[in-house]
C-alpha cells in the first residue's frame, strides 16, 4: 500500500502548487473584480527567473531563486497594473479578458527574447533532493516542502484578510469603494498593492514548480486554464474556494492517471462541468446578479 502514500503526497503537492497560483488570481478578482489572463505570464516568469538565478549549480541559492522568481513576477505585476489594469476597473469582463490576453501575448514574446524558446530544467536544493520514508513509501522531500508552502500561503492570506487593517480595507473596498476612498485611503494604491500580491503569488507558484517539471514557453497558457478551472470551481473571489478547487483538481488528476489513463486529462474538465452544472456560481461563490 506504499503507493497510496505517494499518491496522497503527489496529489497534495500538486494541489498546493495550484492553490498558490490560484489564490493570487482569486484574491485579485475578489478585491477588484478583475479577471487577469496575464496571471499565467507572471507564473511563467517566476519559473524562468528561477532557472536564471540557478544558472550554475544549486545550493543555498535555491532560496534566493525562489524569492527572485516571486519578486520578478511582482515587478511585472506592478508594471501591468499601472499601465493596463487601472483602465479596466469598470470595464466589462470581455474587455478585461481581451486586454489581459493581449498582455499575455506581449509577455510571451518578451519572455522568448529573454529566455529563448527551448525548455529548461532545474534540480531541487540538496536538502530537499532525497526522499523521506513515510509508511513504507519514499516521499520526495520537495513535495512536502511544496505542501508546506501552500499551507503557509493559505494561513498568511487568511491572517491578512481577517486580521490586518489592509485586509479590512480590502474587504470594505469591494463593498463600497467610495466610502473607503472618502475615509482617506488611497484606493489606487490599495488596488495596486493587491494586484502586486497576486502577481507575487503567481511567481512563487511558478518558482515552486520549477524543480518538478520542465520550464518552457507555453506554460503561461496552460497554467491559466488550470487556474481558471480551480477558481471557478471554488467560486470566483473566494480564497477558501481556491483551496477546495485545487484539492478537487489535484484529486481528479491523480485518480484519472490511476484508473482511466486515456481519459485522465478529461477528468478535470468534467469535474468543473459537473460542479458548475450543480452550482453555477462555484462551491463557495456567491450567486451573481
Amino acid at each position: 500500500m506504499h503507493s497510496l502514500v505517494l499518491d496522497i503526497a503527489g496529489t497534495l503537492s500538486a494541489a498546493a502548487n495550484l492553490f498558490v497560483v490560484a489564490a493570487g488570481l482569486t484574491l485579485v478578482f475578489g478585491a477588484m473584480r478583475i479577471i487577469n489572463m496575464a496571471h499565467g505570464s507572471f507564473y511563467m516568469y517566476g519559473a524562468f527567473a528561477v532557472t536564471t538565478v540557478l544558472g550554475v549549480g544549486a545550493g543555498w541559492r535555491f532560496w534566493l531563486a525562489l524569492l527572485a522568481g516571486a519578486v520578478v513576477a511582482a515587478v511585472a505585476g506592478l508594471t501591468v497594473e499601472v499601465t493596463v489594469i487601472r483602465r479596466l476597473y469598470d470595464a466589462e469582463h470581455l474587455t478585461q479578458l481581451l486586454a489581459t490576453y493581449a498582455v499575455l501575448l506581449i509577455f510571451a514574446d518578451i519572455g522568448q527574447r529573454i529566455w529563448g524558446t527551448g525548455y529548461r530544467t532545474v534540480n531541487p536544493p540538496p536538502v530537499l533532493a532525497s526522499g523521506i520514508s513515510i509508511a513504507g513509501g519514499q516521499v520526495p522531500r520537495y513535495q512536502l516542502f511544496v505542501i508546506g508552502v501552500g499551507a503557509a500561503v493559505g494561513l498568511a492570506l487568511w491572517l491578512m484578510l481577517a486580521r490586518t487593517r489592509f485586509g479590512w480595507l480590502l474587504r470594505a473596498a469591494v463593498q463600497d469603494p467610495e466610502s473607503v476612498a472618502t475615509g482617506g485611503t488611497n484606493l489606487a494604491w490599495l488596488r495596486t498593492g493587491v494586484f502586486v500580491i497576486g502577481a507575487f503569488l503567481a511567481g512563487l507558484g511558478g518558482a515552486l514548480i520549477a524543480p518538478m517539471q520542465s520550464i518552457a514557453p507555453g506554460m503561461d497558457v496552460s497554467i491559466i486554464v488550470s487556474v481558471f478551472i480551480v477558481v471557478t470551481i471554488g467560486g470566483l473571489g473566494s480564497v477558501a474556494g481556491a483551496a477546495l478547487g485545487a484539492l478537487l483538481i489535484g484529486l481528479a488528476q491523480t485518480l484519472g492517471a490511476e484508473f482511466f489513463a486515456s481519459w485522465a486529462a478529461s477528468l478535470i474538465y468534467l469535474t468543473m462541468i459537473v460542479v458548475l452544472a450543480i452550482r453555477p456560481w462555484g462551491l463557495l461563490g456567491v450567486p451573481e446578479r
Binding site: 493596463v84 469582463h93 471557478t232 470566483l236 486529462a265 474538465y269 468543473m272 453555477p280 456560481w281
Partner: protein, 338 residues
Amino acid sequence: MHTDSLASSAEHDQVHLARPPARTTAGTVACVVVMGLLALAGVVWSPAALANLQEALGLVLFAVATNLLLGYGGLVSFAQAAFYGIGAYGVAIGWLHWKLPFWLGGLAGIAAAAVAAVIVGVISLRTRRLYFALLTLAFTQLFFVIADNQTAITNGATGIFGAMVPAWLAEPQGGYYFTLVVVVVVTLACYAFVRSPFGLTLKAIRDNRERAEALGVNVYRHQLAAFVISSIGCAIAGFLFAIYSQSASPDLLSWTNSGEPIFMAVLGGMHTFLGPVAGAIVYFYAQSYLTQHITDWQLVLGLLLLVIVLFKPSGLAGIGADAGRAVRRLRARTGGRA
C-alpha cells in the same frame, strides 16, 4: 436601430443621428461591388493568392457566426472553436473510417456540432457572465483533450490528412468559388437572423436581461437557440477549413483558437454586422504578413489588441463611422450636399 441596413449598420450605436436614405443604397451598391470583385478575383488572381483568400473567407464566416453570440447576444463563448473543429473532423473522420461521401461527412460533422452545442449550451447557459465564459472554455478543453487522446478515432495530435475532398473542390478555383458562395449565403442568413424578431429579442436580452424577462421572454431558450445557431455557423466554417486544408487536427479545438474569432469581431467592431467581416480580413492578412516578416509577431498583435480594447472599443467600424461623420461635417461646412 431597426432601420440599419447591411452596410450602414456600422452606426448601430448612433441611433439618434438621422440617416439619409441614400446611404442605404450606397451601402448595398458597395456590397454588390465587393461581391463582384471577389467573383472576378477567382479568374484574375494567382492560385496562391486565391488559396489565401479562401482561407480568409472561412475565417470571415467563423467571426460572423461567433459574433451572433458575442455582439448580439452579449455572450462570451470560448466553445466556438470546438464546433469549428467538429465541423472539420466530420469530413476527416467520415473519410478516414467509413469512406463516407464527402458531403455526407460534412453534414454529419455540422449535425454533430449542433448536438454538441445543445449539450454545452444547456449546461453553460445556466451560469452567468464570467462563469459562462470559463465554463465554455472547460468544454472546449474537454473536446480538445478527446480529439488529442482518442487516437483510434482522430489519429491524436498528428491529425488526419489526405485527399478527403472531391477533386474539383481541391482545385484553387473550384474551392474558392464554393467557399465564396457558402460564406455569402450563410452570412446573409446570419444577417436575416439578427434582423428577425428573434434577433431583436436577443439584443433586448443583451441590453437588459431583467426587463426582457419581465416582458415574458424566455431568456434561457432564446440564448440556447442562438447558441446552437452560432455553433452551426462555426461548424460550417470548420467544414470550409477541411476543404481548404484537407486536414483536421486537435489544434482547431484549442481554446486559443476560440479567442481568434472573438479578436476578429472586436477588431472590426462587434456591435456591427459587417465589423467582424472586416476584422477577419484585416486580422488574417496582418497576421500572415507579420509572421513572415517579424519574429515577435505576437508582441505586435498583443499591442494592437491592447490599443483597440483600451482606446477604440468600437473597432474598425467605429473608426469608419468617425471618418464618415467627419466627411459629412466637412461637406456640410463647404456647402456641398450632405
